[in-house]
Amino acid sequence: MTVTERKEKKVTPDTRARRGRAIGFLGKWAVFAGFIAAWQVATTLAEAPYFPTPSTIGETMVDLWLSGPASQLWLSDAVFDDVVPSLLRLLGGWAAAGVVGVVLGLMMGRSEKLYDYFSPTISFLRSVPPPALLPVFLVLFPIGTPMQLATIIFGVIWPVLLNTIDGAHTLDETVVETTRSMRLSKPRFLATVVLPAALPKIFAGLRVSLSLALILMVISELVGSTNGIGYQMIMAQRDFSLPKMWAGIVLLGILGYVLNVLLLVIQNRVIGWHTRSKSLTGR
């Protein structure tokens, strides 16, 4: 055994992968910090009215959301008046669409008849750009949370529904035959056999839906709301307060990033077995 070989042995693939990930992680943030710095320099030099410097945006954000008393963990009232309602609508609408989409999707994925009857309607409805429904929903639902929930649910249900149908449809025939011999009832079959098998696809749909839900939350608040992040941004637009508008944009970006990371963590916990088994079999 040569020296280099022994050295190689100490660094197991696992630690090497971990080290590689850590370097990648730090590298990404370093690049991003550099980007912000460059942006700071560029905006300071350019003095363009529509592009406030990152430091101004940062100060505005602290001012808006982190200037509260210590008893509220320094969160300002605006957090509870605007950010929290926005988040609740976003998560509520997304969760409701997720549940309905998965239940309908499991049923339609396992019944060819049902799928054939409704597939034209579904493929038309999912093609409607959701913002086009806003003026209609504004009349049909009370302004505020009901109208926003309706917009979010209608807009984000399709990726979950279609992915669930796909996942439930492509179930291994052997599994179907085996469970048939066990005489599972239909609901139990769907919940204990089809659902787990379709989970990877369902999660893919849920991720697409989550970013779509963020978009629809913002746009519905821009149009018909009395509070929320989007409402604050439209107020800032009326005041020509560019730092406040940018603060909203940055906050929404952070929310989008954090929500996506959280969902990935959940996904790894719930269907980690799936990715692991896939990498083991080398597929």
Partner: protein, 254 residues
């Protein structure tokens, strides 16, 4: 054949239920008119010159932004994908910029551009660039090295390498990106139109007719037309994928 029959029965059934609900008095027929009324409005609307202009405005704004977005994203994607250092730096920045929902930019774009038609095209371009860029970068990285080395062994020029090896290899993934972008661009165009009446187009038509709820039949008919446009765009791209790049499963790169 069986499938087609079921498709028809299902669709007719859904419409019939809507019609019944609309006429039963369960809902206010002024707010939610039955499909037959909306159908009649649709026929009238297409004889109306101004409505046709709105539809053309929306479709052309969408088409212009898609062309611009593709022309920006594909060359950039090839560049980022081919030079690893540039690719790493930009992918880090892109990863942080991408979660920003593009509709959050609408209020800013409306005052920054002044003209709302420019604003809607700029926003749609901004939203549509990311999926195409991402798919192009991934596709370049995914090209089989054997293919590249073989081409090198044949002494292909850089230009030949690009047009004869790289572009055909990435085409399926790029097209998938373009398909995803197409619906995003449509959402942004319509959103801006809904928000700013001066942006014109179908979105403004829906807002004008829907406000106050006096002409809900027109508003819902307009929404229906928006759905038809979205549906047609989906169909065209699905067809294009089958027709031109059927040798590969481009959806893998998402």
């Amino acid at each position: 054949m069986k499938r087609l029959v079921r498709n028809t029965i299902g669709t007719v059934g859904v419409l019939a239920v809507c019609e019944l609900v609309g006429r039963s008095g369960l809902v206010n027929p002024n707010q939610l008119p039955p499909p037959s009324v909306i159908g009649a409005r649709l026929v009238e609307m297409f004889n109306d010159y101004e409505f046709s202009v709105d539809v053309v405005e929306t479709i052309s704004s969408w088409a212009i932004s898609m062309v611009i977005a593709t022309l920006i994203a594909v060359p950039l994607g090839i560049l980022f994908g081919s030079v690893p250092a540039v690719g790493k730096v930009t992918s880090a920045i892109v990863e942080f910029l991408r979660p920003i929902p593009s509709v959050a930019m609408i209020p800013l774009a409306l005052i920054a551009f002044g003209d709302s038609v420019d604003a809607k095209i700029a926003l749609a371009v901004f939203g549509a660039v990311w999926p195409i860029l991402f798919n192009t970068v991934h596709a370049i990285g995914d090209i089989d090295p054997v293919q590249i080395n073989t081409a090198k062994a044949f002494n292909l020029t850089r230009r030949q390498m690009l047009t004869q090896v790289k572009l055909p290899a990435i085409a399926p993934f790029v097209l998938t990106g373009v398909r995803i972008s197409a619906s995003i661009a449509l959402i942004l165009v319509v959103s801006t139109e809904v928000l700013a009446g001066s942006a014109g187009g179908l979105g403004s038509f829906i807002t004008e007719t829907g406000t106050g709820g006096a002409q809900m039949d027109l508003a819902i008919a307009g929404t229906f037309v928006a759905g038809v446009i979205g549906f047609a765009i989906n169909l065209i791209f699905e067809w294009a994928q089958r027709r031109w790049v059927n040798w590969s499963d481009g959806d893998r790169a998402r």
